[in-house]
């Protein structure tokens, strides 16, 4: 993922002394101008994304039309189709037309499926987003409490055993790729015990395995980060004071420590969302999940230019926009952050 949010993380974690806010004459509100600058930057990122997507799919070796029509189509038919698809136009004209289509949400028809790309995306994006956001929810719900509890148990070098067990288990889970976890889960819960469906998107039970496959590794990684954050917070003077005053642990952790942990966790959550969406590509294949991940593999394999570039742009936009939103949220939550001046 981009390095932007990572630096965000560092600046928010470190207790920065209040930075001069760089107020300029004529600037209305610092937040407003920050958002304006960020949206301008987003625009340039989108231009780069669209250009890359356009050029990259054309680098895939192979003839898209021959591919869509099969070897038994005659050269004349292939040529006619190529002409009608505009593939004989000069590349700059194709690029121009692509932008025109993008701005009017008319991405053309998929070469192989012969359906409008916008329809395909509208039909399948929800399934992918469902997986990604459910997994994100699981990651946050699991990793934040787990990280805090482990930090509370092991602060100041206590309970070495718990520390060791936690770091080894989460370390292992973090490095196992999600598709291996997925295959393992299917073997245990769907093939051996037949408790849950093997694949497909149906009732609530069909969501369990794919969401678990996506979230287990990320939850493990994130709970490690939350734990380190929590350990830092627990060493702060105000926690020590609270503890000295015999505040109940529940109140101390939930009311005093948690809010100070959340900024960092949310920032990582945003980054994690991007990787969760990328992770859906493999998980969807294992679970035959009718989302975009499954579609992008097929479209790249079959050189389906309109479909592949459409999906790449959608994926890219999700990551760019979620990063932007997180930055905006962080700035409005913590006005001291140095982010505002970027």
């Amino acid at each position: 993922m981009s390095t932007g949010p990572t630096t965000t993380l560092l600046t928010t974690i470190a207790e920065q002394p209040s930075v001069p806010s760089g107020r300029r004459i004529g600037a209305t509100s610092p937040l407003g101008s920050f958002i304006a600058r960020r949206i301008l930057r987003l625009w340039w990122s989108v231009v780069a994304l669209v250009t890359m997507a356009f050029l990259m799919v054309r680098l895939i070796p192979g003839d898209p039309v021959r591919n869509a029509l099969g070897t038994n189509a005659t050269p004349a038919i292939v040529e006619a189709r190529r002409e009608s698809l505009g593939l004989n136009d000069p590349i700059w004209l194709q690029y121009f037309n692509f932008w025109k289509g993008l701005l009017t949400w008319n991405l053309g028809d998929s070469f192989s499926l012969r359906m409008p790309v916008s329809t395909i995306i509208e039909q399948r994006l929800p399934a992918t987003l469902e997986l990604a956001f459910l997994s994100l929810a699981v990651v946050l719900v699991v990793s934040v409490p787990l990280g805090i509890v482990i930090a509370a148990l092991t602060r100041g070098g206590r309970r070495r055993g718990v520390d060791l067990a936690f770091t080894s288990v989460t370390g292992l889970l973090t490095v196992v790729p999600e598709f291996l976890i997925g295959v393992g889960l299917v073997y245990l819960f769907a093939v051996q015990s037949q408790l849950l469906p093997v694949a497909g998107r149906g009732d609530a039970s069909s969501y369990i395995l794919p969401v678990l496959a996506l979230s287990i590794g990320v939850s493990a990684g994130m709970s490690r980060i939350v734990r380190v954050e929590a350990l830092t917070v627990f060493e702060q003077d105000y926690i020590r004071t609270a503890r000295a005053k015999r505040m109940t642990p529940l109140r101390m952790y939930l009311r005093h420590a948690l809010p100070n942990l959340l900024t960092a966790s949310l920032t990582i959550g945003g980054i994690v969302l991007g990787s969760l969406i990328a992770g859906t590509v493999l998980v969807e294949t294992i679970f035959s999940w009718p989302g975009l991940g499954l579609t992008i593999i097929d479209s790249v394999r079959s050189k389906d230019y309109p479909l592949a570039q459409g999906i790449v742009i959608v994926y890219g936009l999700i990551v760019l926009i979620s990063n932007l939103l997180i930055d905006i949220i962080l700035v409005s939550l913590d006005p001291r952050t140095a982010l505002k001046d970027t």
Binding site: P61, G62, D63, R66, N67, A68, L69, G70, T71, N72, A73, T74, P75, I77, V78, A80, R81, S84, S110, S112, L113, R114, M115, I120, Q123, R124, A127, V183, V186, A190, V191, Q194, P197, V198, A199, G200, R201, T285, I286, F287, S288, P290, G291, L294, T295, I297, D298, R301, S302, K303
Partner: protein, 530 residues
């Protein structure tokens, strides 16, 4: 990701849509059939547009076989044409007629007549519609007319397998012809099932219709075992297909590769497909333009070993170009025609052709090294290993081999539709497959790429002569000529069909009364078990 046999099917030429309609492939006793059961089957990728007049995708044809019928079907055992929509037919090289049954109704209640069938073929013929079925199914010089219940198609040039090509086209009803986009995600045909619901990228659900009485093997909508609902699931991963089969969430699916080991308890039917073919580029200036070089290169390869490598020990040698079942002819044109494996003889053949050993073990002729660019399909480990074996054999013969691997569409674009016809010398992975010998001449004779489809620039006058004779004949006489034509091809080592793999369709809780062809199962052949 894609299952190999379906990926292959991208190269399957005309004729695969011909429904097989006989020969249950197991040795099972009588079984209890479920009445109004449910059947679910897998395809490996999204079928896309479901209108059978505009699609060439095999997955769309698999779905189409549930909602659409064809004029004739082909008996998988005898390869004889069987009545379907047509109850009788006549055949000559440039004219075929089909006499249609007069009790056929579409799912919406309208009747299906010879005129409807003619409208289907004329729609494909209309260049405005840009149908990929033009020429591959309907010859562009065809004239299609209907009179009473007789459909007549005439062509100006003879066309040997026209009866089967046209007979395998899935036919839509008038409503679909008036508004072709209405069946892109729906159905309007004469078949036993009607598309009910489509969940994009996930599944297609069909429901059985009433009053279907013209299915092959006397299949009707009230035959015991005919399912009430059919669900076609899109499952790209063969492992997932195997899991679904084992857990009973799928009744039928093609599975190949390592996952087959887990399915040994299930019933299966073979759906054999060619899995290896070597084609030499005959373009002027390339070493393989010379028959001696092609002979030597072939002598250097043990085709039995290559078959073992290609099919993981499961397949067998191809005995002719007709590697699909059912095929219109049965003959062995490979035996005795191809050069036999003999490394020393290969070296002698090259010496005789003027290639002498040079520096670094590379043979040269007139200062030009023997350079071979082998384009191969690297999408499975067996195919990559096969290419490496071939390259190793050729290197030890004294050739300088460049291996260029890619997925099947890379292979097609580097050979079949390459803009530079000289960029490849030989290919392993471009598989021409059909059960109809008349399909091949368009790839092996005539104008070369890029104008024509003779992608390997083959000029084999004997083949062309016998093929032209065969086109003018029908039945056994035609098959005899086709066999001679193929023998001519193999004698001059123009291309080599190497191996056939018995891809399998596995069944759990259901069976089929006919054998799947290229993964395509006729909708009316399914019987769900209790």
């Amino acid at each position: 990701m894609n299952q190999r046999c379906i990926a292959l099917a991208a190269l399957v030429l005309a004729g695969p849509a011909l429904a097989a309609c006989s020969g249950s492939g197991g040795n099972k006793g009588p079984r209890d059939f479920a009445v109004d059961g449910a059947f679910s089957v897998a395809v490996d990728s999204d079928p896309g547009d479901l209108n059978p007049l505009v699609t060439n995708l095999v997955n769309a044809q698999i779905v189409g076989m549930y909602s659409y019928d064809t004029l004739i079907s082909l008996d998988t055992k005898t390869s004889e044409p069987q009545p379907f929509l047509a109850e009788s037919w006549t055949e000559s090289p440039s004219e075929v007629t089909y006499t249609l049954r007069n009790d056929i109704t579409c799912a919406d209640g309208t009747s299906f007549t010879a005129q409807t069938a003619a409208d289907n073929l004329n729609w494909i013929l209309d260049p405005v519609n840009q149908s990929p079925r033009l020429e591959s199914v309907v010859p562009s010089d065809a004239t299609v007319t209907a009179e009473g219940n007789v459909l007549k198609v005439t062509t100006t040039k003879p066309r040997s397998s026209m009866l089967y090509d046209l007979g395998g086209q899935q036919m839509v009803c008038e409503g679909a012809l008036a508004d072709p986009t209405s069946v892109s995600a729906g159905s309007d045909g004469t078949g036993p099932f009607v598309i009910d619901k489509i969940v994009a990228g996930d599944s297609i659900t069909l429901t059985r219709r009433d009053g279907y009485t013209w299915g092959p093997k006397d299949s009707t909508s009230s035959t015991p075992g005919m399912p009430k609902t059919v669900t076609i699931k899109i499952v790209p991963s063969p492992s997932t297909r195997a899991n679904l089969l084992l857990s009973g969430q799928l009744n039928a699916a093609m599975v190949s590769g390592n996952d087959e080991a887990r399915l040994s308890q299930l019933d299966w039917q073979p759906s054999p497909a060619i899995s290896g073919m070597i084609t030499y580029n005959h373009l002027e200036g390339l070493p393989t333009a010379a028959t001696e070089v092609r002979t030597a290169l072939t002598q250097a390869i043990d085709l039995d070993t290559l078959t073992n490598v290609l099919t993981g020990g499961k397949g067998e040698r191809a005995s002719s170009l007709l590697t699909e079942e059912p095929s219109l002819c049965t003959y062995n044109s490979v035996e005795g025609t191809l050069p036999t494996f003999d490394g020393e003889a290969a070296a002698r053949t090259l010496e005789a052709a003027g290639y002498t050993s040079g520096a670094g073990g590379v043979r040269t002729k007139d200062g030009k090294a023997l350079q071979i660019t082998l384009v191969y399909d690297n999408s499975t480990d067996t195919r990559s290993a096969a290419a490496e074996y071939v390259a190793k054999q050729w290197k030890s013969l004294g050739a300088e081999v460049t291996l260029q691997g890619g997925d099947e569409s890379y292979v097609i674009s580097s050979t079949f539709s390459s803009e530079d016809p000289s960029r490849w010398t030989a290919t392993l992975g471009l598989n021409l497959q059909s059960g109809a010998p008349g399909v091949f001449p368009q790839y092996l004779t005539g104008p070369t790429a890029p104008e024509g489809t003779n992608f390997a620039s083959i000029r084999n006058d004997d083949y062309a002569r016998h093929a032209a004779l065969a086109v003018g004949l029908t039945g056994d006489a035609a098959c005899g000529e086709w066999a001679k034509a193929e023998e001519a091809l193999f004698k001059s080592v123009d291309l080599i069909p190497v191996s056939v793999t018995p891809f399998k369709m596995y069944f759990n809780g259901a069976e089929s009364v006919s054998q799947p062809v290229g993964g395509i199962l006729p909708g009316s052949a399914i019987r769900v078990l209790k």
